[in-house]
Symmetry: D2
Subunit: 349 residues, 4 copies
């Protein structure tokens, strides 16, 4: 931590800061400049926070230097992690050597629609099935999901296809029932800072797919992952899904740079969601190609057998030709960036 | 709703849209332009949503025209509402004719600190006490609040001072205990889209102070209020507290325009939080003056007897001279914009 | 300046940084922490920039501590400045003790329309006339202004009304002719980083009204003012006119906090433009009140005798009742925040 | 265009709008809904703009439906264009079938440094040389470029290497001298809305590389290209270089979606600049891969023989291993997305 004194700070002001830092067991190094003095602090960050250094007389600014997250940081865990998803003996990896394609319908609407979407996904190369039983919706008048009935459909489709299932949980009270039916819990963009939910997911015993808040910085996102990790669950996969910007031609702006930035600072795997980022079907294939090429550990895509009748996000679900183009990209591009498909490393029953 | 066809849409494409609209009981008015055709829809919005019009062949875009919220809209409730806060016989109004000043410590730390802060607030003119017992924190390693113990302190201070109490609730499971102790439930910026929490607050029987998500549009914010209202609770007060922008000199950017924008479209009262918007003590007084002058129905401000030792947001808490300046602004400016102080309209025990 | 070394930097890396800094005449103070080492630099900022410290081995980050602007900073010029606008003997002040109301049509369309708008402005209390002869337009197909003919109309209206004139210049090549006709040059939001234009305005001998780039940080804005000041012209007035954010209900988001932030770091006067920020007529009066109350040194507002026929920004121009409400706010609010109207301090012919 | 009437608009209000539209030769189609009436307009957009429809009584909102740009739109020019850069007989294409790699130093500092950087670029596969002789800098105290001397160096290096040269022009007055020495004029992010400069570039007779304003929407960017095209110059290449967002870990956020969005609406070629977007050397290679995979028509990258001593943007210039990685990506990825290298289609002397 670095404390910057204002130009009119007195020697007493500087001495007072030094004293406070020493009181909590820290060391303070004073550098006196022509206009300003700066003080470098060494010691326990948490204890410094309680000093409220910004309120001390003569203090102009306080800069944090180290990362505020620990368990998810690469600092003490240099090797990037692989998270395994699915029942023992049939687990699929998500990590630095493989490329994992997840797909399925935005919302589970019926057993038939879900099974058909899963078959589409699987034939295009997907190894993990996505599908929503609980939907967080901006409007209280919109379809909110099938709930437990949807979870049961997903569990049935897993049996029929052999694909592990990831599904969203929107309320801490639902974590047990979702963990019972699904192989991976998804925490959506609107709940990234729902700390009670993060902690419940951390105690669920299942891997977690943590979407980035649409307006969260990368650091805030990693702090949310830290909430999960702190409850003993390090099986967290991050998912970049677009951030809110001023550009109106896409629903959100896919922050493709977040992939290498996260990989440089955290050991957790990171995947890309091109469907929800853009909200436009015609962008899903090019953005999927970009996600693979930038080095993401996987992608997650909406597919639906009949987008016209979808109860949620129909406009972005892939079908027909587009799905064929995506399947081709998923086959050709990962090897060009040094990865093998997750199916080659998955456990075989 | 207006459907914009793409320039290469055929007559069959247009006819197909019209047919779909009529199938769900709507009317469609076709305007054929030189380059494009547009179709105006009249009828039930919800039924149109299920058509997934964007997925139909030839459709380039769909514009919504009406507001998506109903209960909180001024459309069928032209008069602006007043929300009353506090125990019967001692209630304080927040609404279009009055100006309500709320103040207190960001976090409840001890009985002494809370009482002292309440006395400071009251002597500066505040009529409602704010104070946090549950704190949503970005870091799992930061102080998370005193919980039920904090609620009890707040209830005691209410008895000692006569000020009704507003306090934050961060988890749907805590709503009953918070509603039992407090006079108004606060939903914080990070939980604005926590729909389970909104619904629980809607069923609590207490008025709700709903802070704007730091990255929520005004429409999304009003939709969040609609979630509360839909559970039968129309006693919602909105609180503008700054939005996330590219400007780094303030923590968030106070969107002062949100006050007249909300007042033009919703009947709910709206107040301003200058402390959390800026995150800088030196801006609290000027931003409070701006909030009063723009026409807000109240302001809510952090005060702390000893900001140096505050466990939360010390840097922005007011003290001494600043508090005196604020007290003066609260006395002088509301009359200049046609409002009386809430104390003059509050119920007397 | 502070150099933060990465956790795996070696002692040689640290020594290399220190050596480089000393080579250009600076001093380096090393603070060795448990995880990282930080190095505080004291000396000439410019010479440090040429070191490209970020490219040195082991360097993780470099933080600048001092402000990068000098001439417009309060650091060596603590007293806030007053800028005088107009011909000798009739000059109007813009500064810390007064409140200056500027108004006029967005674009000069004809002699009659301009004179009529000036009379409206003057009767509402305005002391400086605004009006555009050159218009920067997003579309090459939109009205681009009357040019020199417009400047002549403005000069005539100044004679008729006695109000000094501020008008925009959009091209460095036009600076001489604009400076010849107008009393103050306006640099618009789209040209805030047009450095050739800033320098030409700095050599014009006339005061400059510098609007904030709609996507510029306050620091970038002050750097733009520094470009003007560096050419010997310290008569710069800043104008906050809204920044681009994600909120769609207003054209831009008025950053009301920019007023006290600028006043804390720069000695230059700052005014608020509520018309262009919101782009909505119904917000002009409340935002004007907010601008006065927050402590701005003035406001600048669009008025037009017949907004229906305006060639530019008609929707936001005030008329009739709105103008009367504004006139009343301009009379009542400045005294409530300790300011007198500019007319009381203006030079009398 | 669609006019949305407010719920309390009268029949007279609607009739008045219809009448106004008909007066300028347009047609108006009225759709009367339960709550609101909407009016679809067909006819000449420009004439509708002059009506200031928003100022008419009863009008709540006006939506534009068609794109405001014409010459750069795909609407009447469905085939995507190829722009040829360089002297006759040695021209290099930028367009839909090829992939063009441009590289060079951010700033021209000396003949040796420029030649060395050009050799590095060429050996990594670049076919066009970039390099800045005029630099727009935020600070008036920073290096502003060598000017005409820099242009001469670039022209010499073109002779030595055979690579066509693209260089930035920052002032309309410099367009002739830059056009005389360079093969393509670059307009930088800060000047995207400098309309005088755009028009001068449109009259220069040279192809133009138009960078996106860091805070410009895609529509505003295409309108800026329209300014150039309107002067008779359709040889415009767009360059996505990152937009300003709230995320601090990269200098700007590369809006990778802009590539397919632009390709869907405009026939102009579009390339990606990964160096200036991120401002971080370690992201240049992954973002280059993403740019190629998303379908960009080229990329433009900073290289420098000795980044440590660079006078401008040293931290992001590639060297050694990174450059080898990039050269490999440029060889392997374009064929995987169906493109051949520009060198295979370039004219041979």
């Amino acid at each position: 931590m670095v404390v910057v004194m204002s130009p009119d700070a007195t020697d007493e002001d500087v001495a007072h800061v030094v004293e406070k830092v020493q009181e909590v067991g820290g060391e303070a190094f004073v550098s006196k400049g022509v206009v300003r003095t700066i003080i470098g602090l060494v010691g326990d960050l948490e204890s410094f926070h309680h000093l409220n250094l910004r309120t001390l007389r003569g203090v102009a600014d306080v800069h944090r230097i180290s990362d505020p997250y620990k368990l998810v940081s690469r600092q003490h865990h240099a090797e990037r992690s692989t998270v395994w998803v699915g029942p023992t003996g049939r687990r699929v990896p998500i990590g630095p050597d493989t490329f994992t394609f997840m797909a399925g319908p935005c919302a589970v609407e019926s057993a038939d629609q879900t099974l058909e979407a899963a078959r589409m996904a699987q034939s295009a190369g997907a190894t993990i099935l996505r599908g929503g039983a609980y939907k967080p919706r901006t409007s209280p008048y919109a379809f909110q999901g099938l709930g437990v009935k949807g979870l049961e459909i997903l569990a049935d489709v897993r049996e029929a296809t052999g694909m592990p299932v990831v599904t969203e949980v929107v309320d801490a009270r639902d974590v047990p029932v979702v963990a019972e039916h699904a192989d991976m819990l998804q925490i959506g963009t609107r709940n990234m800072a729902n700390f009670g939910l993060l902690q419940a997911a951390g105690e669920s015993g299942k891997p977690v797919l943590l979407k980035r808040g649409m307006t969260a910085t990368i650091e805030e996102w990693l702090m949310a992952a830290e909430y999960i990790a702190q409850r003993g669950n390090l099986d967290v996969v991050l998912c970049e899904r677009g951030i809110r910007t001023f550009e109106p031609s896409t629903r959100n702006t896919l922050d493709i740079s977040a992939v290498p930035v996260v990989q440089a600072t955290s050991h957790l795997p990171i995947i890309v969601d091109p469907s929800h980022a853009a909200g436009r079907k015609d962008l899903v294939v090019p953005l999927s190609r970009a996600g693979i090429a930038v080095g993401a550990d996987g992608i997650i895509v909406d597919v639906h057998p009949t987008p016209e009748t979808a109860l949620c996000d129909g406009p972005q679900a892939l079908l027909g030709n587009d799905l064929r183009d995506l399947a081709q990209a998923v086959r050709k591009l990962p090897p060009a960036v040094g990865r093998v498909d997750s199916s080659e490393r998955a456990e075989r029953p």
